[in-house]
């Protein structure tokens, strides 16, 4: 109870900040995926023949639920790197928080709550835009909102923990290039992973994006079976739990010195 209240206070701070600065995040969080959907879904998609492999639906509808996940993952990266480092090193807001009854673990919880809410909002906005553009195959795409949020958190939690160990931001560029980019392109958002060489698949299965895309697309087309769905959700949840566990440790090590 105490923990929830303390974490909520941290959440309120982020919300106060957001109310003043939401335009900046709205641009990156909203405009980019819409451009993707228009250019790749509608533009490029008009030249793509629908096949059985993509479920026989127009390409833009095939793409839309996966892009919700991609949006969440990009949002997760954005929220879990520079922003975390800044609150340790530059703005030092975390340092200010732990001088109050709030503990380092509660600082982390409040941060994860905030990121979760941001991912949910980004995903919801995206689904709304997709529906307006006729990219939604049916109401099932609404389920992509919580599922994409979960996938985003599964990437965010370990990344936040990692960011808490860094003294300078150089490593972030590497993450953007060699983790986020391939994850965006090669885990089933734009084409089925069955088109990839077989030896790559185990690597794909490790990514939160593949699990998220499988879930979101399955939910949108109503093709989700209980067993694989539970497996995907369990894997993503495990990533969140492990990430948070490491985060608690690293936040404590960083703040309680």
């Amino acid at each position: 109870m105490q923990t929830l209240k303390a974490s909520w206070a941290g959440f309120e701070k982020s919300w106060t900040w957001y109310r003043r600065n939401w335009q900046a995040t709205a641009v990156s969080g909203f405009v980019t995926p819409v451009l993707l959907l228009v250019a790749l879904g509608l533009g490029f998609g008009s030249q793509v023949e629908s096949t059985a492999l993509i479920g026989g639906v127009p390409y833009v509808q095939y793409l839309a639920p996966a892009l919700v996940v991609v949006t969440a993952l990009q949002g997760a990266t954005f929220e879990s790197t520079y922003s975390i480092m800044s609150q340790f090193l530059w703005q030092k807001s975390y340092v200010a928080m732990v001088a109050t009854p709030i503990t380092p673990a509660q600082v982390l919880y409040s941060q994860m709550m905030w990121i979760g809410s941001q991912l949910f909002v980004r995903s919801a906005v995206f689904v709304g835009v997709a529906a307006l553009l006729g990219a939604a195959a049916g109401p099932g795409i609404l389920l992509a909102i919580p599922l994409a949020t979960l996938a985003g958190l599964a990437f965010s939690a370990p990344l936040v923990a990692y960011s808490a160990t860094l003294e300078k931001p150089d490593a972030f560029t590497t993450i953007f290039r060699f983790v986020l980019m391939p994850m965006t392109l090669f885990t089933g958002a734009f084409f089925p992973v069955s088109q990839l060489p077989g030896w790559l698949l185990p690597l794909v299965w490790l990514t939160p994006s593949w699990h998220g895309i499988e879930l979101a697309r399955g939910a949108a087309f109503g093709t989700l079976d209980l067993l694989p769905a539970s497996g995907h959700v369990a894997y993503l949840t495990a990533l969140v739990v492990v990430g948070v566990a490491f985060g608690v440790r690293f936040f404590h090590r960083r703040l309680a010195v």
């Binding site: 303390a6 703005q91 340092v95 009854p101």
Partner: protein
């Protein structure tokens, strides 16, 4: 009298580095207590342990009668902390900074609003209340940091180098606010490497050097114990040979550019020095300060 802080043989090390090497400290309710020492003396490490953020490596520590290791959040709920480096939310307004901080202490929104209004006045930032923090001057940010630390009506206020980097006017304004707090019965613990600040603010202080306590007492006690009433400063051109004047004073300190002659009558010694035909570039008779105490105790000057 009740002790708000009790430390016995308190130590803190980071790996092989010993920042605090066994200090005994007692801070009584209602007093202003100082840690005076140069950078790296272990003042900030001590403060972080007292503020229940950083754990101790050894020894005993009680804050507000409780063990920081066990009751950290409970103790922190009754402390105010002014860190060495401002950590305000610079993209929020002055008022939002105060209100949000109140929420960290579990205060109701209504209470946070009232308290913020009261503290804006205390910090003389009323006309900036709804401005963003970023463009404020250093002195204003510092006042806001202090106001923020008071949001929970702390019994014990910890100030780590509160006026470092501020111009003289901003410092005096800040000191004035701290005096007011002291009069209201708030116990203050201050670290500083400015001896004038320690003399102005502290009822009692310890001089720290190399992680240890070198001396303890009120500023005037320390001065009378470790120094003389007056000091004659004689300045010589750089590189010039300094005359041997040991016989005229109780003690002589040789600094790179000047001699300090410790005596109860500076003018008298100055006259005798002139009789010897010694011609310093500049001479000055002044009262002893904590700077002299520090020099005596450590052989080094406090601020270079």
């Amino acid at each position: 009298m009740e002790n708000l802080v009790e430390a016995k043989a308190l130590t803190k090390h980071f790996g092989a580095f010993e920042a605090v090497r066994g200090i005994d400290v007692e801070v009584r309710r209602g007093e202003a207590f100082g840690f005076l020492g140069p950078n790296g003396a272990g003042k900030s490490s001590t403060m972080r342990m007292i503020s229940c953020v950083s754990g101790r490596s050894g020894g005993e520590l009680k804050v507000l009668g409780m063990d920081p290791g066990r009751d950290g959040p409970k103790i922190r709920a009754r402390l105010g902390v002014v860190p060495q480096l401002d950590n305000l939310d610079t993209e929020l307004t002055v008022r939002q900074n105060l209100q949000i901080y109140g929420r960290y202490f579990g205060m109701s929104r209504q209470r946070c609003r009232e308290k913020a209004a009261e503290l804006l006045e205390f910090a003389q930032l009323g006309d900036r209340a709804d401005h963003e923090v970023e463009p404020l001057s250093g002195g204003m940010k510092r006042r806001l940091t202090i106001a923020r630390s008071l949001v929970n009506d702390p019994e014990l206020l910890l100030l780590d180098e509160p006026t470092t980097g501020l111009d003289p006017q901003a410092r005096h304004l800040l000191w004035d606010r701290l005096f007011r707090l002291k009069q209201d019965g708030v116990t203050l613990i201050i670290t500083t490497h400015y001896m004038d600040e320690a003399e102005q603010l502290c009822d009692r202080l310890v001089v720290m050097d190399g992680g240890r306590i070198a001396a303890e007492g009120s500023p005037s006690e320390l001065i009378s114990r470790y120094s003389t009433k007056e000091v004659l400063e004689l300045r010589f051109p750089p590189g010039a040979r300094k005359p041997d004047l040991e016989r005229f004073a109780d003690r002589v300190e040789v600094l790179p550019d000047r001699l300090l002659l410790y005596t109860h009558d500076g003018e008298h010694v100055l006259a005798k020095v002139h009789e010897q035909g010694v011609q310093p570039v500049q001479s000055l008779v002044r009262r002893s300060s904590l700077e002299d105490v520090f020099l005596r105790l450590t052989g080094r000057t406090l601020v270079d």
